[in-house]
């Protein structure tokens, strides 16, 4: 198969310092057809937004970029998490449950995005959360996180946090871009793995270029 024009690195944010030459898509020929169609199809153009209103689009886009640190310069390519979340909500593809003190996921997203805009107006007299600087957006997001179980605009902050991060992580880490950043080879059928055990690598797995880099003690820094 011709090499897919995906690039090796996760666009924006991080630099791909740990696995600089690794690309999970190099192995696409070794994947079964059903899996390859699913993963490669995910790289295709995303559907147009159907769920979010323009005001929600602006706020959701900014919120998701902060949660996932997709804060490269304007115009730099990035994982289209906003489009992926919008598609999921439009199709009501939930995890199959909701907290009794939260609305169904779609309504919960609308309510919490509006609440972020209210916080932006109250704290900084802005029309939209999206109009704030990155630092101010992060401050408002952190304020929600710091509430833990306490209510935030009538909803339990911990359940709001769970909703946001579940949707954000599920979209972002579904993409080969993100796998490349973390050294995960993705699909493994029908090939499988032959080298099991600590420190063992398949020929197509790449060693971590900086194995001593420990992310500890940076919690909650955004």
């Amino acid at each position: 198969m011709r090499r897919l024009p995906t690039g090796r690195r996760v666009p924006s944010g991080e630099t791909g310092a740990r696995f600089p030459n690794f690309d999970a898509l190099d192995q696409v020929d070794a994947w079964d057809p059903a899996t390859a169609a699913t993963v490669v199809g995910r790289l295709a153009r995303q559907p147009d937004l159907r769920f979010f209103t323009p005001a929600e689009e602006a706020t959701a886009g900014a919120l998701l970029d902060r949660l996932l640190a997709q804060d490269g310069p304007p115009g730099e390519p990035k994982v289209p998490v906003l489009q992926m979340v919008d598609a999921r909500l439009a199709e009501a593809q939930t995890d199959g449950w909701r907290y009794h003190d939260m609305p169904e996921d779609g309504d919960a997203w609308r309510a919490t995005l509006a609440a972020l805009d209210r916080d932006a107006a109250d704290e900084y007299e802005a029309d939209s959360f999206a109009d704030l600087t990155c630092d101010r957006q992060k401050r408002l997001v952190r304020a929600v996180q710091d509430l833990h179980g306490k209510p935030w605009h009538g909803l339990p902050a911990a359940h709001v946090w769970s909703l946001w991060t579940r949707y954000a992580c599920t979209a972002f880490y579904a993409r080969p871009y993100a796998w490349n950043e973390i050294g995960f080879p993705g699909p493994a059928y029908p090939r499988g793995y032959a080298r099991l055990g600590i420190g063992l690598r398949e020929p197509f797995e790449e060693a971590d270029a900086d194995p001593t880099a420990d992310p500890a003690d940076r919690k909650g820094t955004g």
Binding site: G13, R66, H100, E104, T165, E181, Y193, G220, T221
Partner: protein
């Protein structure tokens, strides 16, 4: 000969006897593994195309609701015994080749994702680790980890004053455990805990995550063993060897990991059972007086049908089974079918499943090999020196990137911090505990005001922990942190979560304490059975699938043995 040498010889002899025994008896009992294709395809579509099809007006011997661990096992057993069986399944008939992918996000459709409400002080998220859909049910995406319950699990109330006593003993289930372990089949080291026993297949090779648990446990003098997993190690019928690709929880495209789709459904179809998919059960119908079940009403292709049957078995698992009974209220049972004593939906249990991950400078690459591979049950039983009753087991778990990211985010990491943690993915080894949480009447399923797309009230699952629960979880967490530190971890993080479901329609000695008797017949309606995990009165610290299949195997034998004696009420049988 010294004691340890003698016991090792006994273990070796038991293992040899089992691994070298001919498979003829297994094949005669259940030929599923031999009915799978030999040409590399994962399911023989001719079995479905040529499937016997009944008419709604045919009064079949048995209609089963749900084709998961319990429902598929019962369907196979009764079809094999010559009964005419229709199994109604809400989801699709999976084709592993085309419907399943070796990808995390692409496997969302394997879970039961219709709406449910969760409440209580410690609400339990549903979905990927506890609710299946389609033929095979949650065995399609279970990890295949199949330890037995311990003998002590059957008498926790008598022994410790907590939980409940089962109306059967461990010894009643032992032959069923042995049969199911052979049919899955199970690979693992000789098991030293509970009722010590060998497994029919040798343990699988261990991945990086498993090596960490073995290393840490050895340093602390904690016993750990490899297995038991329901994953072929060597050939079994036409089931191939595992390829260690790590996507066990996304449906096994290899046919190496057991799911009832490949372990029981092929033989059921070959013996004339019909598995009617995309059929959503609406209610169990009874005669006008509510004395006996006459069939199951269900929705299919937008139309409502009634499949008539002489016997009905409900196997929708711990949330959908109570929901179906509550939704089946009628004049005789105004509060829900079989709910005379307000037992339906109660004593629902989950296991506390904290996950502790440790950071190692070495590359662990936990995504290779079966996610749960190595375990210790040294802390399973009540220890009088602890401040709590019952205990926990420790296993390896190996979250794939999305699951791992959700866990890291749940710990409060986001933005650049989250991305940095995630880049460190291959350096983390993760252990998970299964903590026995006690059955409580208030942990239950009720009907919510919300309705699903069929117009049926959805389940509200309320869950709250008690003090003993919290103490067990704390202890498990401390032990996992100790093991990882002993293995050389430079940092450990723990996240709180739950795993598995059992209870909700428990078996008991009488109708005031539960919904079904030891043979899984409901006390209220003698020709209605419940044959899934909801009948378990306690849950131990073991993954429940094997025990669910074992209690159904036992009930199926009792049902088949009693077939010629006609309809019997449990009340009559208990008379001298």
């Amino acid at each position: 000969m010294s004691g340890p040498v003698r016991s090792r010889l006994r273990e070796a002899a038991g293992t040899l006897c089992l691994t070298a025994s001919p498979q003829r008896a297994i094949r005669e009992r259940n030929a599923s593994a031999w009915l799978l294709p030999e040409d590399g395809a994962r399911f023989d579509h001719r079995l479905v195309e040529g499937m016997r099809r009944f008419d709604d007006t045919d009064e079949v011997d048995l209609v089963v609701v749900g084709c998961g661990a319990g429902g598929a096992t019962l369907t196979q057993r009764m079809a094999h015994a010559g009964w005419s069986v229709v199994c109604l399944e809400a989801g699709p008939f999976w084709d592993p080749d085309t419907h399943w992918v070796s990808d995390e996000a692409g496997s969302h459709h394997l879970y039961w994702t219709e709406p449910r409400v969760i409440s209580g002080t410690d609400p339990v998220p549903m979905g990927s680790n506890n609710s299946g859909r389609g033929v095979g049910g949650s065995t399609v995406h279970f990890a295949g980890f199949v330890p037995r319950f311990h003998p002590s699990d059957f008498s926790t109330f008598t022994d410790d004053g907590v939980g409940a006593d089962w109306p059967i003993r461990y010894e009643d289930l032992r032959p069923s455990y042995e049969r199911i372990e052979q049919e899955l089949p199970v690979a693992g080291q000789y098991w030293p805990w509970g009722d010590p026993h060998p497994y029919p297949y040798a343990p699988h090779p261990v991945g990086g995550n498993g090596e960490i648990l073995l290393r840490g446990a050895a340093a602390l003098g904690i016993r750990a063993r490899v297995g038991p997993v329901a994953i072929t190690n060597g050939r079994f019928g036409n089931r191939p060897h595992c390829i260690y690709r790590g996507f066990c929880l996304q449906g096994c495209k290899v046919n190496a990991k057991a799911s009832t789709l490949i372990t029981h459904v092929p033989d059921a179809l070959a013996h004339g059972a019909e598995i009617r998919t995309q059929a959503m059960a609406v209610a169990v119908e009874t005669d006008a007086e509510g004395r006996r079940a006459i069939g199951v009403r269900y929705l299919r292709n937008g139309r409502e049908h009634l499949q008539r049957a002489r016997t009905v078995a409900v196997a929708g698992y711990s949330v959908e089974t109570p929901r179906l009974l509550l939704n089946s209220a009628n004049r005789r049972f105004p509060d829900g079918l079989c709910n005379d004593h307000d037992q339906v939906g109660r004593y629902l249990m989950v296991q506390g499943a904290p996950q502790t991950a440790g950071r190692f400078e070495e590359e662990i690459r936990a995504y290779k090999a079966p996610p749960p591979e190595v375990t210790s049950e040294d802390f399973y039983e009540t220890d009088p020196t602890n401040g709590f009753k019952r205990g926990y087991a420790i296993q390896t778990v190996s979250p794939l990137p999305i699951t791992w990211a959700e866990h890291v985010a749940a710990q409060g990491h986001w933005g650049h911090d989250l991305r940095r943690y995630m880049q460190d993915y291959i350096h983390w080894a993760t252990l998970g505990a299964l903590c026995e949480l006690l059955p409580q009447p208030g942990n239950r399923v009720t009907l919510s005001d919300e309705k699903d797309r069929h117009g049926l009230p959805v389940a509200d699952f309320s869950y709250s922990q008690c003090d003993n629960d919290r103490a067990v979880i704390r202890a498990a967490r401390a032990t996992m942190e100790r093991i990882l530190r002993a293995a050389g971890a430079t940092e450990v993080i723990t996240i709180e979560r739950y795993a598995h479901l059992v209870g909700g329609c428990r078996m008991a000695a009488g109708p005031e304490q539960g919904v079904v008797d030891a043979d899984l017949r409901t006390f209220a309606v003698p020709n209605l059975l419940i044959t899934d995990g909801s009948v378990l009165p306690t849950q131990g610290s073991a993954n429940p699938a094997l025990t669910i299949m074992a209690v159904v195997d036992r009930a199926a034998r009792r049902l088949a043995d009693g077939a010629r004696s006609g309809l019997r009420s449990p009340y009559e049988r208990s008379l001298p």
